[in-house]
Symmetry: D2
Subunit: 342 residues, 4 copies
């Protein structure tokens, strides 16, 4: 199978390319970049691929559709909103790692992204691909979830789906490594500033909030809003989403434990670890989400510790999982990765 990849210069694109290169169902990868006007070797465009001279081609939708059977977009916010139309019209398979078609409402997109939205009809047709809960099989345009959203939704799913908690009580204290902030050097990710530091950013304003709320609502209509905070941590890769919720009267620790076991017992990429709380290094290098849960009867509060590799499960890994589902390959193809330990 021949696949296209637009946006090789960002971290998600780089990691996705590494996965696809080894994928047994992928015969070739065409790379594209918007800023190019002529072909350039990959190792000039991204020096860290220092011996790989695969040509990176200027982007055009005609070329992409002519030369590939599907395409991945690993582009920044504001790119695919302008490009989705011809693919949807042609029913050409797309997996879009950006946030542009994740929401189903034009106004919501504009409010949280501060950019023009894709057309409303495109938003309607796109499938929000939280791969562990809804398969991308038979879907044309998959909007791959955000990294924070993935960790948080997988952490909350059993509780919200089974209606065990006070839905007004959801508080998420999420922490991310700097690779989540992208490749462009900035003041907050300057080593001298980020090292030995914790920095809260975008309080109540992170653009992953609406896709979390949208999905929680699809599971339980009573959900209205969540309290969601993000802290930048001096690590390169990894997200820990620490979630606090109050349980409904009558719910106890054993019932909570049971719903997590029931929900995740058979899902290949979600490991429920009970009261053994996972640390980030357990999942870095993998497509896994590890989830530990501790119930405190004194405060009737459940604490959920959900960890992922933001560039794999939170981006490129889940994109390949959606790709496997979309084309009915083995779901775990090229994703049985071992943690990068120690």
């Amino acid at each position: 199978m021949q696949v296209g990849l637009v946006g090789i210069t960002g971290y998600a694109g780089m990691v996705l390319y590494q996965l696809l290169r080894q994928h047994s169902e992928v015969s070739g990868i065409n790379l594209y970049d918007h800023k190019l006007t002529r072909n350039q070797p990959l190792n000039e465009v991204v020096p860290s691929f220092f011996t790989d001279q695969t040509p990176v081609q200027p982007y055009s939708d005609q070329a992409v559709m002519a030369d590939n059977q599907m395409v991945f977009f690993a582009t920044s916010a504001g790119v695919t909103s302008k490009l989705s139309q011809p693919y949807l019209d042609a029913k050409f398979p797309v997996i879009d790692l950006s946030g542009d078609l994740r929401l189903n409402d034009v106004d919501e997109y504009q409010r949280w992204y501060h950019k023009d939205s894709a057309p409303a009809s495109d938003l309607q047709q796109a499938h929000y691909g939280l791969a562990d809960f809804e398969s991308a099989e038979d879907k044309t345009y998959v909007a791959n979830p955000g990294c924070y959203a993935t960790a948080t939704l997988l952490g909350l799913a059993p509780l919200v789906q089974q209606d065990l908690i006070d839905l007004d009580s959801i508080i998420v204290d999420a922490k991310s490594g700097t690779s989540g902030a992208g490749k462009h050097p900035a003041a907050s990710t300057h080593f001298t500033q980020a090292n030995d530091n914790l920095q809260i950013y975008k309080p109540n304003q992170h653009q992953h909030i609406p896709e979390i709320v949208m999905t929680l609502k699809s599971w339980n209509k009573q959900v209205k809003a969540i309290q969601f905070m993000t802290t930048l941590i001096p690590i390169t890769r990894g997200i820990m989403s620490t979630i606090y919720v109050k349980v409904k009267p009558g719910i106890d620790g054993a019932m909570i434990d049971q719903v997590y076991q029931d929900t995740y017992g058979h899902k290949p990429f979600v490991n429920y670890t009970g009261t053994q709380l996972p640390d980030i290094k357990q999942v870095v290098g993998t497509n896994n989400c590890n989830i530990g849960v501790v119930y405190n009867p004194v405060t009737q509060t459940v604490m959920v510790d959900s960890v992922i590799d933001n560039l794999l499960k939170g981006a490129a890994g889940q994109a390949v999982q959606n790709f496997n589902q979309m084309f009915k390959f083995e779901e775990t193809s090229e994703l049985e990765l071992t943690p990068f330990l120690p």
Copy 2:
């Protein structure tokens, strides 16, 4: 003034010694260590004081009281519980950085510390020295607060004291650098394990929980319990206590802002920064607690971001602040420190 310092080998003791050496009211410092049977030069006992040959002396209460006008204990849990009696009997001034006499209840101590408690009468006589709220003037035995407790209590004080919040809703997601775990090498603080990682530890079991609840109750009798979690972060120094609470009906952002201004406008070591959320590096190297607050009207939730240097405001710095209060020195003596930036 001649002062004694027991426990120079730990991080808090090391930092305390550095502060006291420069204190204008301190004429001399006698160092003591329990494990010694004869005098040894400091740079043998703690190689990082590599040119300082001050003798470290074997500990005895008689020697301490004979040769000093007051004494600091920077010892581990379980030490001063066995030693407090003669000092209290003699009304000899003590500032105790350990947790042994912070709680006012023998059973509570045993439950959270898993050790034998000091006698109940000693617990009653000790003063919990949260220095920004209650002066140590005229106190004999000051139990210096824990690092997590200091950041959390200063973050919560205006809201709890002014009764603005649902007291059942307090959730604290606290993060600490590794120096908080002490000097003894352990698996979780091994560089290879701690670097590039976040590790939740002691869920609902951290020994600072009871002193927080005890103090909150002293401010507002309705407080019953808090949800409190601790995460180990790959930084050396610093604590961020991220606090979430639901406000009572009718409370808005302006009222919250006002109580923080009223509470902290004139306190020298607490800086209220409004919605500018402080990062950890702003306070490392100082005795300051910086506090930012963001109210989210959608969820009626206040998020408080309270940061301190765990070894200064969270230990040795607050101990010197208590010392200054106890002996009526200028409260800010030797504590007008600049942040260690960049």
Copy 3:
């Protein structure tokens, strides 16, 4: 093929196990540990393999030889020196990642390792497996090189083999991440001490010095000694060996460039990058050694920058490379790894 692995608890053993699990020629892996007296599941012995319940068995040479076609030892110094005999007697294939049989001289071993040596005859039979230079094909007992030795020898090989340099001028300033110091927590690798720090250790006394000198001598009999220093760096994985040598009269930059190209142009795991100096992250996650070289005509000095992943090329990766050679598998089997970027 059924293989045994003794020493799963250390970092090299952990990484080796991860590689072997995916190796297409390995049908099963038996794990052994010296300290066990009965079988125990892997995730009890090494909690970071948190779902893997493969039994770890007590060690005995009879069991190892009965149940496997070859065995890897990933044990500490001082273990295989006592165990090598029966395997050599039986001509049972061994790849030994420890330093115990790398040197060919009993006195040298004792001088640098401060332990009893394996018998002299065992030392003579063992093959020093610097896999990019001498194949392990038909060898019975392979002593897998040390991590510092691998980076340094590959960096120096072209210059020493082609006799371009003043052999008395070799200076190596080598830097390693903390995983090289092993899994046991120690004062120097305590996060609080190692973070924000550089620490020189074992000056002129590192146990990899004699295997480097032994191998250099095998290439050029004039070599007598090297100046070799090691610095502990606050990173988890990776070694940079920075090498300085004076060239012989008449040698220029072009000649140096040519010998590196000639030596490494066709070796799959050594990438010569010319004056583009490699950083450590280029190789972490791979079995590659990347080498950049800058000649300074003003000082007639060549600076060689040689980087490896200490746990792969410097341990488990090279062990698999030796395994592939030993059993005539494709040399690159299971070793075409992509760098762990970003």
Copy 4:
């Protein structure tokens, strides 16, 4: 004494301001910045001084000379080369932390800095202020040494001054934290790139090379050149300069030890630690240079380990030391700093 400070936005300026604020001989500090056209509060210009509203003024030499008794420049390369003239003409005291007037030769400056030089006569009048070796007393214009140069020159001084070594053999492998690269975010200091990495940069081209060679020549005319490499390390503050030299025939370890003791026994800011090799954390937070030395008789090579805080001894601290010398204050005023431990 009223002092001016031009360039508060950079790290050296920030640290210098912190020192000067506490200096007992400084009554007031006027801050200036080139890019301003009107006064702005400091905490707007540098948010990390978050409560300090001292006005930062637009720069003009008339204002600086009218309102102050001396001025510090903590500006980037290429600034004071254009501004030095009026100060030299007026014999107005200047301490210049930039490299612009360190060299005594116009062509050398242009070759290493790739910028236009200050006039030759200005270069001649400026004093290279390596404060531990030549006092700034009675000097008008002090060019404060570079950070790498300070660590390297102090490490080499006894050997070169006493003529104990082969002067063609000097090799310096210097490592620096990211604060040395300044405040401007760049690809190499982006956290995601710098963390878990070592990066060699500017091989044989670092602009501190010529000031090192110039100073070594002033000590020993036979010096021609040095081999000097710089590696970026994932720490915030600190430099380790590891120096290798061959000794002359007949020199032994005891003689080397003696010259270091003789040279540094009475200097307040240089601590010679013998064969106890200093790590970086011993000096971070201080104006000290700690130096350890190990002689290897097998290779006749001396290894010198010289560590400093790049922003204190390597910039602002040495600038204050020069200031103290210039105005005949106690040399150690405001510089008796304790290491920032742990």
